[in-house]
Protein backbone atom coordinates (compact mmCIF):
# COMPACT_ATOMS: atom_id res chain seq x y z
CA UNK A 1 0.00 0.00 0.00
CA UNK A 2 1.51 3.33 -1.06
CA UNK A 3 1.26 6.19 1.38
CA UNK A 4 2.11 9.84 1.81
CA UNK A 5 3.25 9.63 5.41
CA UNK A 6 6.83 10.68 4.73
CA UNK A 7 5.70 13.84 2.90
CA UNK A 8 3.14 14.74 5.57
CA UNK A 9 5.82 14.32 8.21
CA UNK A 10 8.29 16.45 6.25
CA UNK A 11 5.70 19.20 5.82
CA UNK A 12 5.60 19.50 9.60
CA UNK A 13 9.37 19.06 9.98
CA UNK A 14 8.82 16.04 12.22
CA UNK A 15 11.32 13.22 12.53
CA UNK A 16 10.15 9.61 12.45
CA UNK A 17 10.61 9.64 16.23
CA UNK A 18 8.40 12.74 16.58
CA UNK A 19 5.64 11.06 14.61
CA UNK A 20 6.08 7.80 16.53
CA UNK A 21 5.67 9.68 19.82
CA UNK A 22 2.49 11.35 18.58
CA UNK A 23 1.05 8.02 17.43
CA UNK A 24 2.32 6.11 20.48
CA UNK A 25 4.05 3.51 18.33
CA UNK A 26 7.74 2.72 17.88
CA UNK A 27 9.89 4.67 15.43
CA UNK A 28 10.56 1.38 13.62
CA UNK A 29 6.79 1.00 13.10
CA UNK A 30 6.66 4.44 11.46
CA UNK A 31 9.67 3.49 9.39
CA UNK A 32 8.07 0.21 8.35
CA UNK A 33 4.84 1.96 7.29
CA UNK A 34 6.71 4.64 5.36
CA UNK A 35 8.77 2.10 3.44
CA UNK A 36 5.80 -0.14 2.67
CA UNK A 37 6.95 -3.08 4.82
CA UNK A 38 3.94 -2.90 7.08
CA UNK A 39 0.32 -1.92 6.51
CA UNK A 40 -1.07 -0.28 9.63
CA UNK A 41 -4.06 -1.78 11.38
CA UNK A 42 -7.33 0.04 10.77
CA UNK A 43 -7.32 1.75 14.21
CA UNK A 44 -3.75 2.99 13.61
CA UNK A 45 -4.66 4.19 10.10
CA UNK A 46 -7.51 6.20 11.62
CA UNK A 47 -5.18 7.59 14.31
CA UNK A 48 -2.78 8.71 11.58
CA UNK A 49 -5.62 10.28 9.58
CA UNK A 50 -6.90 12.07 12.67
CA UNK A 51 -3.43 13.40 13.52
CA UNK A 52 -3.06 14.94 10.06
CA UNK A 53 -6.74 15.95 9.86
CA UNK A 54 -7.10 14.14 6.54
CA UNK A 55 -9.29 11.28 5.32
CA UNK A 56 -7.57 7.87 5.39
CA UNK A 57 -7.74 7.66 1.59
CA UNK A 58 -5.78 10.93 1.29
CA UNK A 59 -2.86 9.24 3.07
CA UNK A 60 -3.04 5.58 2.05
CA UNK A 61 -3.55 4.39 -1.49
CA UNK A 62 -4.26 0.77 -2.36
CA UNK A 63 -1.96 -0.58 -5.07
CA UNK A 64 -3.31 -2.14 -8.24
Amino acid sequence: MKNRLKVLRAERDWSQGDLADRLQVSRQSVNAIETGRYDPSLPLAFRIASLFALPVEAIFEAED
Partner: protein
Protein backbone atom coordinates in the same frame (compact mmCIF):
# COMPACT_ATOMS: atom_id res chain seq x y z
CA UNK B 1 5.24 58.30 -2.11
CA UNK B 2 8.06 56.33 -3.69
CA UNK B 3 8.05 53.85 -0.81
CA UNK B 4 4.30 53.38 -1.23
CA UNK B 5 4.77 52.69 -4.93
CA UNK B 6 7.56 50.18 -4.19
CA UNK B 7 5.38 48.41 -1.62
CA UNK B 8 2.51 48.21 -4.11
CA UNK B 9 4.85 46.80 -6.76
CA UNK B 10 6.15 44.16 -4.37
CA UNK B 11 2.59 43.17 -3.45
CA UNK B 12 1.65 42.88 -7.13
CA UNK B 13 4.63 40.58 -7.73
CA UNK B 14 3.15 38.03 -5.28
CA UNK B 15 4.95 35.98 -2.61
CA UNK B 16 8.75 35.93 -2.67
CA UNK B 17 10.15 32.78 -4.25
CA UNK B 18 12.55 31.89 -1.44
CA UNK B 19 14.05 28.37 -1.26
CA UNK B 20 11.94 27.72 1.86
CA UNK B 21 8.72 28.72 0.04
CA UNK B 22 9.70 26.65 -2.97
CA UNK B 23 10.41 23.66 -0.74
CA UNK B 24 7.04 24.04 0.97
CA UNK B 25 5.26 24.23 -2.40
CA UNK B 26 7.21 21.22 -3.65
CA UNK B 27 6.11 19.16 -0.62
CA UNK B 28 2.49 20.19 -1.07
CA UNK B 29 2.66 19.04 -4.69
CA UNK B 30 4.40 15.79 -3.64
CA UNK B 31 1.41 15.05 -1.44
CA UNK B 32 -1.16 15.42 -4.23
CA UNK B 33 0.79 14.82 -7.46
CA UNK B 34 4.13 13.14 -6.65
CA UNK B 35 5.18 12.53 -10.25
CA UNK B 36 4.79 16.23 -11.10
CA UNK B 37 6.57 17.18 -7.90
CA UNK B 38 9.47 14.90 -8.80
CA UNK B 39 9.74 16.58 -12.21
CA UNK B 40 9.74 20.05 -10.69
CA UNK B 41 12.22 19.06 -7.99
CA UNK B 42 14.52 17.55 -10.60
CA UNK B 43 14.46 20.81 -12.58
CA UNK B 44 15.04 22.80 -9.39
CA UNK B 45 17.96 20.53 -8.48
CA UNK B 46 19.43 21.04 -11.95
CA UNK B 47 19.34 24.80 -11.47
CA UNK B 48 21.23 24.68 -8.17
CA UNK B 49 18.42 23.91 -5.73
CA UNK B 50 20.77 21.88 -3.53
CA UNK B 51 19.65 20.14 -0.36
CA UNK B 52 16.01 21.28 -0.34
CA UNK B 53 15.45 20.36 -3.99
CA UNK B 54 17.09 16.95 -3.51
CA UNK B 55 15.11 16.29 -0.33
CA UNK B 56 11.81 17.11 -2.01
CA UNK B 57 12.81 14.91 -4.94
CA UNK B 58 13.53 12.06 -2.52
CA UNK B 59 10.18 12.51 -0.79
CA UNK B 60 8.24 12.66 -4.09
CA UNK B 61 10.00 9.50 -5.31
CA UNK B 62 9.40 7.74 -1.97
CA UNK B 63 5.69 8.42 -2.30
CA UNK B 64 5.84 6.57 -5.61
CA UNK B 65 7.93 3.78 -4.00
CA UNK B 66 10.78 4.44 -6.44
CA UNK B 67 13.27 3.47 -3.77
CA UNK B 68 16.63 3.35 -5.63
CA UNK B 69 15.98 6.79 -7.15
CA UNK B 70 14.69 8.14 -3.82
CA UNK B 71 17.83 6.86 -2.08
CA UNK B 72 20.07 8.62 -4.62
CA UNK B 73 18.13 11.86 -4.09
CA UNK B 74 18.41 11.64 -0.28
CA UNK B 75 22.13 10.90 -0.62
CA UNK B 76 22.53 14.01 -2.79
CA UNK B 77 20.64 16.03 -0.16
CA UNK B 78 22.82 14.60 2.63
CA UNK B 79 26.05 15.39 0.75
CA UNK B 80 24.91 18.96 0.12
CA UNK B 81 23.95 19.27 3.79
CA UNK B 82 27.42 18.02 4.76
CA UNK B 83 29.08 20.58 2.49
CA UNK B 84 27.05 23.31 4.19
CA UNK B 85 27.47 21.80 7.67
CA UNK B 86 23.65 21.76 7.90
CA UNK B 87 22.30 20.14 11.09
CA UNK B 88 19.94 17.96 9.00
CA UNK B 89 22.75 15.91 7.42
CA UNK B 90 22.40 13.03 9.88
CA UNK B 91 18.64 12.72 9.35
CA UNK B 92 19.10 12.83 5.58
CA UNK B 93 21.62 9.97 5.69
CA UNK B 94 19.07 7.99 7.75
CA UNK B 95 16.40 8.68 5.10
CA UNK B 96 18.86 7.55 2.42
CA UNK B 97 19.68 4.36 4.32
CA UNK B 98 16.06 3.42 4.79
CA UNK B 99 15.33 4.05 1.11
CA UNK B 100 18.33 1.80 0.24
CA UNK B 101 16.94 -0.92 2.53
CA UNK B 102 13.52 -0.58 0.90
CA UNK B 103 15.27 -0.95 -2.48
CA UNK B 104 16.88 -4.19 -1.27
CA UNK B 105 20.38 -2.65 -1.30
CA UNK B 106 21.69 -3.66 2.12
CA UNK B 107 25.31 -2.68 1.37
CA UNK B 108 24.23 0.80 0.26
CA UNK B 109 22.02 1.07 3.34
CA UNK B 110 24.91 0.21 5.61
CA UNK B 111 27.10 2.91 4.02
CA UNK B 112 24.36 5.50 4.49
CA UNK B 113 23.64 4.52 8.12
CA UNK B 114 27.35 4.62 8.95
CA UNK B 115 27.55 8.11 7.40
CA UNK B 116 24.58 9.10 9.61
CA UNK B 117 26.41 7.90 12.74
CA UNK B 118 29.64 9.57 11.61
CA UNK B 119 27.82 12.90 11.22
CA UNK B 120 27.55 13.11 15.05
CA UNK B 121 24.30 15.00 14.50
CA UNK B 122 21.90 12.32 15.80
CA UNK B 123 20.26 12.50 19.18
CA UNK B 124 20.94 9.35 21.29
CA UNK B 125 17.47 7.95 20.57
CA UNK B 126 17.96 8.21 16.81
CA UNK B 127 21.46 6.82 17.17
CA UNK B 128 19.90 3.76 18.80
CA UNK B 129 17.34 3.49 16.02
CA UNK B 130 20.11 3.67 13.41
CA UNK B 131 21.84 0.77 15.20
CA UNK B 132 18.58 -1.19 14.74
CA UNK B 133 18.51 -0.14 11.08
CA UNK B 134 22.09 -1.42 10.73
CA UNK B 135 20.97 -4.68 12.34
CA UNK B 136 18.18 -5.00 9.76
CA UNK B 137 20.74 -4.39 7.00
CA UNK B 138 22.95 -7.14 8.44
CA UNK B 139 20.00 -9.54 8.67
CA UNK B 140 19.22 -8.80 5.01
CA UNK B 141 22.66 -10.09 3.99
CA UNK B 142 22.43 -13.05 6.38
CA UNK B 143 25.11 -11.77 8.76
CA UNK B 144 23.68 -12.58 12.21
CA UNK B 145 26.93 -11.90 14.08
CA UNK B 146 27.05 -8.29 12.85
CA UNK B 147 23.31 -7.95 13.41
CA UNK B 148 23.77 -9.03 17.05
CA UNK B 149 26.46 -6.36 17.62
CA UNK B 150 24.13 -3.63 16.31
CA UNK B 151 21.05 -4.94 18.15
CA UNK B 152 22.92 -4.93 21.44
CA UNK B 153 24.03 -1.32 20.84
CA UNK B 154 20.44 -0.44 19.94
CA UNK B 155 19.05 -2.09 23.08
CA UNK B 156 21.42 -0.03 25.23
CA UNK B 157 20.28 3.23 23.60
CA UNK B 158 16.54 2.62 23.11
CA UNK B 159 15.51 0.08 25.78
CA UNK B 160 11.88 1.22 25.64
CA UNK B 161 11.53 0.39 21.94
CA UNK B 162 9.57 -2.87 21.63
CA UNK B 163 10.99 -3.43 18.16
CA UNK B 164 14.52 -3.58 19.56
CA UNK B 165 13.56 -6.47 21.87
CA UNK B 166 11.56 -8.13 19.10
CA UNK B 167 14.49 -7.94 16.69
CA UNK B 168 16.83 -9.30 19.34
CA UNK B 169 14.44 -12.17 20.12
CA UNK B 170 13.97 -13.09 16.46
CA UNK B 171 17.72 -13.05 15.95
CA UNK B 172 18.28 -15.22 19.02
CA UNK B 173 15.65 -17.71 17.80
CA UNK B 174 17.41 -17.96 14.43
CA UNK B 175 20.68 -18.57 16.27
CA UNK B 176 19.02 -21.28 18.40
CA UNK B 177 19.44 -19.32 21.65
CA UNK B 178 15.92 -19.98 22.92
CA UNK B 179 16.60 -18.78 26.47
CA UNK B 180 17.57 -15.32 25.21
CA UNK B 181 14.75 -15.37 22.66
CA UNK B 182 12.16 -16.10 25.38
CA UNK B 183 13.52 -13.41 27.69
CA UNK B 184 13.63 -10.69 25.02
CA UNK B 185 10.30 -11.47 23.36
CA UNK B 186 8.66 -11.28 26.80
CA UNK B 187 10.05 -7.74 27.13
CA UNK B 188 8.76 -6.88 23.64
CA UNK B 189 5.27 -8.18 24.47
CA UNK B 190 5.20 -6.23 27.74
CA UNK B 191 6.07 -3.01 25.84
CA UNK B 192 3.71 -3.62 22.90
CA UNK B 193 0.98 -6.10 23.92
CA UNK B 194 -1.16 -5.31 20.86
CA UNK B 195 1.47 -5.66 18.15
CA UNK B 196 0.51 -8.63 15.95
CA UNK B 197 4.06 -9.12 14.62
CA UNK B 198 5.49 -9.33 18.12
CA UNK B 199 2.72 -11.70 19.28
CA UNK B 200 3.38 -13.92 16.25
CA UNK B 201 7.09 -14.08 17.06
CA UNK B 202 6.24 -14.81 20.71
CA UNK B 203 4.05 -17.69 19.50
CA UNK B 204 6.87 -19.03 17.33
CA UNK B 205 9.33 -18.91 20.22
CA UNK B 206 6.84 -20.54 22.62
CA UNK B 207 6.18 -23.29 20.07
CA UNK B 208 9.89 -23.99 19.62
CA UNK B 209 10.24 -24.10 23.40
CA UNK B 210 7.65 -26.89 23.55
CA UNK B 211 4.94 -24.68 25.05
CA UNK B 212 2.16 -25.45 22.61
CA UNK B 213 -0.73 -24.07 24.68
CA UNK B 214 1.07 -20.78 25.16
CA UNK B 215 1.97 -20.65 21.47
CA UNK B 216 -1.65 -21.15 20.40
CA UNK B 217 -2.80 -18.47 22.83
CA UNK B 218 -0.27 -16.00 21.43
CA UNK B 219 -1.20 -16.86 17.83
CA UNK B 220 -4.86 -16.30 18.69
CA UNK B 221 -4.05 -12.90 20.20
CA UNK B 222 -2.07 -11.95 17.07
CA UNK B 223 -4.93 -13.04 14.80
CA UNK B 224 -7.47 -11.10 16.88
CA UNK B 225 -5.32 -7.96 17.06
CA UNK B 226 -4.79 -7.55 13.31
CA UNK B 227 -6.77 -10.18 11.36
CA UNK B 228 -6.08 -8.68 7.94
CA UNK B 229 -2.36 -8.08 8.44
CA UNK B 230 0.44 -10.32 7.25
CA UNK B 231 1.25 -11.25 10.86
CA UNK B 232 -2.43 -11.92 11.63
CA UNK B 233 -2.76 -14.20 8.62
CA UNK B 234 0.46 -16.04 9.53
CA UNK B 235 -0.90 -16.53 13.04
CA UNK B 236 -4.17 -17.94 11.66
CA UNK B 237 -2.17 -20.31 9.44
CA UNK B 238 -0.12 -21.42 12.45
CA UNK B 239 -3.30 -22.15 14.41
CA UNK B 240 -4.70 -24.14 11.47
CA UNK B 241 -1.44 -26.05 11.07
CA UNK B 242 -1.54 -27.02 14.75
CA UNK B 243 -5.22 -28.05 14.72
CA UNK B 244 -5.62 -31.71 15.48
CA UNK B 245 -2.03 -32.27 16.56
CA UNK B 246 -1.54 -33.49 20.15
CA UNK B 247 -0.97 -30.82 22.79
Amino acid sequence: MISLLLAAAAQAAGPVDTPANRYRDCLALARTAPARAAGQAQAWLGSGGGMMAAQCLGLALSTQEKWPEAAAAFEAAAKDAEARQDRRRGDLWVEAGNARLAAGDAAGARRAFEAALASKMLIPQLEGEVELDLARAAVAVNDPATARIHVDKGLALVPKDAFAWYLSAALARKQNDLALARDHIAKAVSLAPDDAGILLEAGNIAGLSGEKEAALGLYARAARTAPGSEAGRAAQAAIAANAGTPR
